[in-house]
C-alpha cells in the first residue's frame, strides 16, 4: 500500500513551469525526503498533494494521496487534508491559547468531547516533544512561545489529527541548532509509525531523518533540467 503516488506532476503558472515534472512514491509508514535547490518548487509540490496551490497555479499529472485522486473533480479536499496534514515552513500560531492551538484542527474535523480533545492535545504535544515545556501553561497565549516551540506546536496541531500522512515543509529552516535537534528527535519518534514527507534543502538532515530521498529541479551535468531521480537511500 502506498500513501502517496505521484506521476509526472508539473505545476505551472500560465506557460511558466514552476515545478516538475516529478514522479515518486511514498510507501506506507516510510519517510520520504524531497530535496532540491531553492526555487525548484519543493514546497509547491507538497501543496499540490493536498490541493493547497494558490489561485493562479495549476497542477497536471497524476496525484494519488491515501487512495484519493486529488486531480479529479468533486474530491472532498478538507477531509483529505485532515488525513494528510501539512505543516508549513513558517510556524503559524492562531491568536489563542497553546491548548486551543493544539486542538485547532481536530476540534473542527471531529465532534470529540472536551475532555477527549485535551487528551488528544496531550498525546500530540508529547509526540512533538513539547509537552514537558508547556504542560504547566496550556492556557497561556501561544504567541509567548519561542520560534522553535511554535514550530513544534504546529507539528502537534497536525499530529492531533492522527493523520495517516504528515507533510512537512522545511520544518527546521527558521530554527537554531537546539530547536532543530528537538524537531528531529520528534521526527525520529514518528519514523516507522506514520507516512511522512519532508521537504528540506539540507541533505544531511534528510539523510538523518528519511528512508528515501528524491531530488527535484536540479540541473544535471549536461545542463538539462533533470527529471526527478531517486537518490541513493541512506544506510
Amino acid at each position: 500500500m502506498t500513501a502517496v503516488r505521484v506521476d509526472q506532476l508539473v505545476v505551472s503558472r500560465g506557460d511558466r513551469v514552476l515545478a516538475g515534472p516529478v514522479s515518486f512514491e511514498v510507501p506506507a509508514t516510510t519517510t520520504l525526503g524531497l530535496r532540491g535547490p531553492s526555487g525548484a518548487g519543493k514546497s509547491t509540490v507538497l501543496r499540490a498533494l493536498v490541493g493547497l496551490l494558490p489561485a493562479p497555479l495549476c497542477a497536471t499529472g497524476a496525484i494519488h494521496v491515501l487512495g484519493v485522486d486529488v486531480a479529479s473533480t468533486g474530491v472532498d479536499l478538507p477531509a483529505l487534508r485532515a488525513r494528510a496534514a501539512l505543516v508549513g515552513q513558517t510556524p503559524v500560531v492562531f491568536p489563542a491559547s497553546i491548548l486551543a492551538n493544539a486542538v485547532f484542527g481536530i476540534r473542527h474535523v471531529s465532534r470529540l468531547p472536551r475532555a477527549e480533545l485535551r487528551d488528544r492535545a496531550q498525546a500530540a504535544l508529547t509526540e512533538a516533544g513539547l509537552w514537558d515545556e508547556v504542560a504547566d501553561r496550556l492556557d497561556a497565549p501561544a504567541d509567548q512561545l519561542s520560534i522553535g516551540q511554535r514550530q513544534r506546536l504546529c507539528l502537534a496541531r497536525a499530529l492531533a489529527l492522527e493523520p495517516e500522512l504528515l507533510l512537512l515543509d522545511e520544518p527546521t529552516s527558521a530554527l537554531d541548532g537546539a530547536a532543530t535537534a528537538a524537531i528531529e528527535a520528534a521526527l525520529a519518534g514518528l519514523r516507522g509509525r506514520r507516512s511522512v514527507m519532508i521537504v528540506s534543502h539540507d541533505p544531511a538532515q534528510l539523510a538523518r531523518t528519511c528512508d528515501d530521498v528524491v531530488t527535484i529541479g536540479g540541473t544535471t551535468g549536461d545542463g538539462q533540467r533533470s527529471a526527478a531521480a531517486p537518490a541513493a537511500a541512506p544506510a
Partner: protein, 606 residues
C-alpha cells in the same frame, strides 16, 4: 501493511451551513438597499412627464407653471463644490506634507488625529457656525444683506472637506517607503527637494484622490449648505463675468432643493416629483462617479487597478528645477518648510477655533440640568427627549448595520470571486458617498408613504444604518485583508472547510474591524439630519420613547438643532441650539474615542 485508520466519527467534519447562508442573506440586504434607492429615483422620474433637456439647460424653476429647469441648481452645486475644494485642497495637501515629512514621528499620530477632529463635527454644527460667523463675514465683505450666498456655503464646505483631503493625503504620503526618501537625501537633496522630487511623484495619485473624495463630499453635503446658501431659485449667471457676482448672491444647490419643503409638497408622482427625482439622479451619478474613482485612486481598490505608466512629469519632477533668482537652496528649503508649517498651523488653528466656539457658545450644555430636563415651548428647557431619541435611533441603527456590514464584508473578501468582489466594493463606496438627503427621500417615499408608517423612529434607524454600513464593510474587509496568508493556509491544512475557516479564523480576525467600523459609522450617523427630517423626527410633541412603529416619531438632537437654527434670530433658540450642538459633538466624539482602543488592537494584530 494496513494503514492506521481513525474511527469514522472523526472523519465527519461538521458543516456550518448557517455561515454562508447568513452572510449571503445579510449581504443581499445591503445590495437590495442600494438598488432600491436607484430604483426609487428611476420610478420617480418615470412617474410624470420630465423634459431632460429643459432640466439640464433652463434655469427657470416654476412648479405652478410646470417649468422645471435645473441649470441654476447645477451651477450652484458646481460653484459651491469647486470653490470649496479649491480653498481646501492646497491647505490640506500642505498640512498633510507637514504632518508626514516635517513633524517629529511621535507627533505624527497626534497631529493627524487633531486634524481629523474636524470630521467629527456633524454637518448641522457646521451649519450653525456658518450662520453665526460666515454669513456676517460675507455680509460685511461683499455687502450682501444677511450674507446668505454661494460663497458662504463654499467657505463652510471648505472646512468640512479639509479633514478628508488631509486624511487621504497623509495615507498616500505615509505609503512612500522610507528607503526611497533616504536614497534621495543621500544624493545631497534638501528636505524640500526630497519632498518635491521623490515623495510627491510617488504620492501624487493618492493626493489627487483626496481632492476627488473631498469634491464628492462637497457635492453631496446638504444641511450645512442649506442653512447658509439662501435657497434662491433661478440664479444663473448671464455672462462669464457674472459668475463672480453670482457667487456672493444667494443661490440654490441640488441638495438644498431636495431638502426643501417641495419634496413633501410635490406628492409622489407627476411632473414636479419627476423633476425632483431627476435632480436626485444627477446628484447621485456625479457623487457616485467621483467617490468610486477617488477610492480606486486612493488604493482602497487595490487588486486589479491599472498602473499608470510613469510619465516624464511624474518621474522627472526634480529635473527641470525652477530657479528662484537670488534665493539659495538652503534659504528656499527654509521658506518652503515655513510655508508648509503655516498650512498645518492654520489647520490646527481652525480646529482650536471651532472647539472654542462650540464650547463657549454651547455653554448651555455645561449645565447638567440641560441634559436631563425636557424641552419647553419653542426654544426653552433642555434636551432630554432629543438625547433619548437620538440614542434609540442610532442604537438600533448600529444593531442593524453591524451584522449587515459584517455579512457584506465577508462575502466581499471570502466568498465572492474577483469580479463580484470588485462590484460589491463599488456598491459599498457608492452607498458610502450617497448624499444622505437621497436616503431621506427614499425612506420618505417607501416607509412613510408606501408602507404607511408616517413618521417612524424605525425608518430613521434603517436610514442611519445605511449611513453606517459602508464604514463597517470597509473596516471588516481591511481587517480580513490583514490576515497573514500563512495562517489561512495553516487552518486549511488541518482540514477545515471554508465555512469553518470563516467562523473560526476569519470572523475573529474581523471583529476589531467590526467594532471600529460600527462605532465610526454610528458617529457619522448620529450627526445626520437630512435622513430624519421627513421620516422620523418631529420638533415637539413626541414622547421620549415611542410606543409602536407606525406614526411613532421621536425628537432627535440633529433635527432639533436644525429647527432651532432656522429660527436663530431669537436669542433663546440660538442658545439652546448651540447647547444641543455641543451635546451632539460630545456624543459623536465619544463614539469615535471608543473606537480608538479597537483600532489599536487591530493594528497590533497585524
Amino acid at each position: 501493511m494496513p494503514l492506521p485508520t481513525a474511527p469514522a466519527a472523526l472523519r465527519a467534519p461538521a458543516r456550518v451551513r448557517w455561515v454562508p447562508l447568513g452572510t449571503f442573506a445579510l449581504a443581499a440586504l445591503a445590495v437590495v438597499g442600494v438598488a432600491a434607492v436607484v430604483a426609487f429615483l428611476v420610478i420617480g422620474v418615470r412617474s410624470g412627464p420630465l423634459d431632460w433637456v429643459e432640466l439640464l439647460s433652463s434655469s427657470t424653476w416654476d412648479p405652478p407653471r410646470s417649468r422645471f429647469g435645473g441649470a441654476a441648481m447645477i451651477f450652484g452645486t458646481a460653484a459651491v463644490a469647486v470653490v470649496a475644494v479649491a480653498l481646501a485642497a492646497p491647505v490640506g495637501w500642505a498640512a498633510a506634507i507637514a504632518i508626514v515629512e516635517l513633524a517629529p514621528v511621535r507627533w505624527r499620530r497626534l497631529l493627524r488625529a487633531a486634524s481629523e477632529l474636524l470630521a467629527v463635527v456633524p454637518s448641522i454644527v457646521y451649519g450653525l457656525i456658518g450662520i453665526a460667523f460666515v454669513r456676517p463675514l460675507v455680509a460685511g465683505a461683499a455687502g450682501v444683506p444677511g450674507g446668505d450666498s454661494l460663497v458662504a456655503a463654499a467657505l463652510v464646505l471648505a472646512v468640512m472637506v479639509l479633514p478628508t483631503v488631509v486624511a487621504v493625503s497623509v495615507d498616500a504620503l505615509a505609503g512612500v517607503p522610507a528607503p526611497v526618501r533616504e536614497a534621495g537625501a543621500a544624493c545631497g537633496l534638501t528636505r524640500t527637494e526630497v519632498i518635491r522630487s521623490v515623495v510627491l511623484p510617488a504620492a501624487r495619485r493618492g493626493m489627487g484622490a483626496g481632492l476627488l473624495l473631498g469634491l464628492a463630499r462637497a457635492l453631496g453635503e446638504t444641511i450645512a449648505v442649506f442653512l447658509v446658501v439662501g435657497r434662491a431659485d433661478g440664479r444663473f449667471p448671464t455672462s462669464p463675468g457674472d459668475v463672480l457676482t453670482r457667487l456672493v448672491r444667494p443661490g440654490q444647490t441640488l441638495t438644498t432643493k431636495l431638502n426643501g419643503p417641495e419634496s413633501i409638497l410635490a406628492g409622489t408622482a407627476g411632473g414636479h416629483w419627476a423633476a425632483l427625482c431627476g435632480l436626485g439622479l444627477l446628484l447621485l451619478g456625479a457623487v457616485a462617479a467621483l467617490t468610486v474613482i477617488g477610492q480606486r485612486r486612493a488604493g482602497v481598490e487595490g487588486a486589479g487597478r491599472r498602473r499608470r505608466r510613469p510619465t516624464r512629469r511624474s518621474v522627472g519632477g526634480g529635473m527641470g528645477r525652477r530657479s528662484w533668482p537670488g534665493v539659495g537652496r538652503v534659504a528656499r528649503d527654509r521658506l518652503v518648510r515655513a510655508g508648509l508649517s503655516c498650512a498645518l498651523a492654520a489647520n490646527l488653528l481652525l480646529v482650536v477655533a471651532i472647539s472654542v466656539v462650540v464650547l463657549t457658545r454651547g455653554a448651555a450644555a455645561l449645565r447638567p440640568g440641560f441634559w436631563w430636563s425636557p424641552s419647553v415651548g419653542a426654544s426653552g428647557g433642555g434636551i432630554r427627549d432629543q438625547l433619548v431619541g437620538t440614542a434609540l435611533v442610532v442604537g438600533v441603527a448600529g444593531v442593524l448595520a453591524a451584522p449587515v456590514g459584517l455579512g457584506l464584508g465577508l462575502v466581499m473578501t471570502e466568498y465572492a470571486g474577483p469580479g463580484l468582489s470588485r462590484w460589491l466594493r463599488t456598491l459599498t463606496l457608492t452607498l458610502g458617498g450617497m448624499p444622505s438627503i437621497l436616503l431621506g427621500l427614499w425612506g420618505y417615499w417607501l416607509f412613510s408613504i408606501r408602507l404607511g408608517w408616517g413618521r417612524s423612529w424605525l425608518t430613521g434607524s434603517i436610514l442611519l444604518a445605511a449611513v453606517a454600513i459602508p464604514p463597517v464593510v470597509i473596516a471588516v474587509a481591511s481587517s480580513v485583508a490583514a490576515l497573514p496568508k500563512e495562517r489561512r493556509e495553516a487552518a486549511l491544512a488541518c482540514g477545515l472547510r471554508r465555512d469553518q475557516l470563516v467562523r473560526s479564523v476569519i470572523v475573529p480576525q474581523a471583529l476589531p474591524g467590526l467594532v471600529t467600523g460600527t462605532l465610526l459609522g454610528l458617529a457619522r450617523a448620529a450627526g445626520e439630519t437630512a435622513p430624519l427630517l421627513f421620516t422620523a423626527a418631529v420638533f415637539s410633541g413626541a414622547p421620549a420613547l415611542p410606543s409602536g412603529i407606525r406614526d411613532s416619531p421621536v425628537s432627535a438632537l440633529s433635527t432639533h438643532i436644525f429647527t432651532l437654527a432656522q429660527d436663530s434670530a431669537e436669542p433663546g433658540a440660538a442658545h439652546t441650539a448651540w447647547g444641543a450642538a455641543l451635546a451632539l459633538v460630545v456624543v459623536a466624539g465619544a463614539l469615535v474615542l471608543a473606537a480608538v482602543p479597537a483600532r489599536r488592537r487591530m493594528e497590533r494584530n497585524r
